[in-house]
Symmetry: C2
Subunit: 201 residues, 2 copies
């Protein structure tokens, strides 16, 4: 994904500027007006870049969206692990939920999912990227706990996310609920109850 940069000629400074202006405007539109407002026309208006130019760089809206999303800095860095598995899990899960409930992340995730479900490859890749970013910190905690012998070594990243984030995403996306800290703790505790390496058995 990072070829054609050292091999070929340097990128024209105008291209760099255009890309930056467009992606910035695209991100602003995405996070304020929502997903379906990110069109060539609106991005052109807000970025000052001509419509034709945007079409040249991103022939389809999907191309544009994918670049906007993937060029956006991840808002989900892994925090430092304290070794207290439950505490770390609750903290990281709560942070995910906070992101989910503030701003447009909710809508972005849902729309990415919807676009991905129609079979569009680019949208599927982007959706996978968002998914991966969102569950990275939780998997960091859990994989450490697995190595420490606290959790079921059969756990995968997907299964972990399914049982920690799954219930919370259900509450938020299907049930329309606000997800409280109590919900987060309940979800984490249920996960731990099910997948802890119990000394008793």
């Amino acid at each position: 994904m990072a070829e054609a940069k050292t091999a070929s000629r340097r990128v024209d400074a105008r291209v760099t500027r255009t890309r930056a202006a467009v992606l910035d405007a695209g991100a602003r539109i995405l996070f304020t007006d929502g997903w379906n407002q990110v069109t060539h026309v609106r991005v052109a208006e807000r970025s000052g870049v001509a419509r034709a130019t945007i079409y040249r760089h991103w022939p389809t809206v999907e191309d544009l969206l994918v670049d906007v999303i993937l060029s956006y800095p991840s808002p989900n860095p892994v925090g430092k692990l304290t070794g207290d598995t439950r505490g770390d899990l609750v903290r990281e899960t709560a942070r995910f939920v906070r992101n989910l409930q503030r701003g447009k992340l909710h809508e972005i995730i849902v729309t990415a999912m919807e676009r991905a479900s129609t079979g569009n490859r680019q949208m599927q890749d982007m959706h996978a990227a968002i998914t991966g970013i969102s569950r990275g910190p939780i998997w960091a905690v859990v994989s450490a706990a697995i190595e420490a012998g606290e959790l079921d070594p059969g756990l995968t990243e997907a299964t972990t996310a399914a049982h920690t984030l799954g219930p919370l995403l259900y509450l938020r996306l299907f049930n329309g609920s606000r997800v409280s800290r109590r919900h987060v703790e309940a979800s984490v505790d249920a996960f731990l109850a099910a997948f802890s390496v119990s000394p008793g058995s």
Copy 2:
């Protein structure tokens, strides 16, 4: 919602026919070509009803979609409960997953969620209806088990669905996985491990 039927004059037979033809065509389009193909134009083509007529009955696409979805017979009747909580839960959950993985239900759910997330009231109501239908059987099993003293009496329908269906929906919708019977059993077992009224404590 059921007024203007006994009070006013009977419904014209032509209206009945038009509604039936349109909703039938709409459902067929929905389940074969997907959600965003359900437009006035396509429904008109496939139903033989004139575009103008469809616009008269359903001014917006949302109106049309809501009627198509809500008039469709629920594919999710509650099975008979055997009293074996785990067995009943696995069976009902597996059936939900089967529906989810066959045909367009996946896409329908995801799109309903996406539309609902934009704030449209009708779409939210419809999404809530779909959600309710999908988790009804599971709640039937669980509420019986609660009364039998097997499960935590603090469980609600939403929480139950979150912990049984949530992980599976995550795997399917976020992870893109095929959900196997093993996944279903793992999810049910995790739920039971977390919410059983344990005799030991």
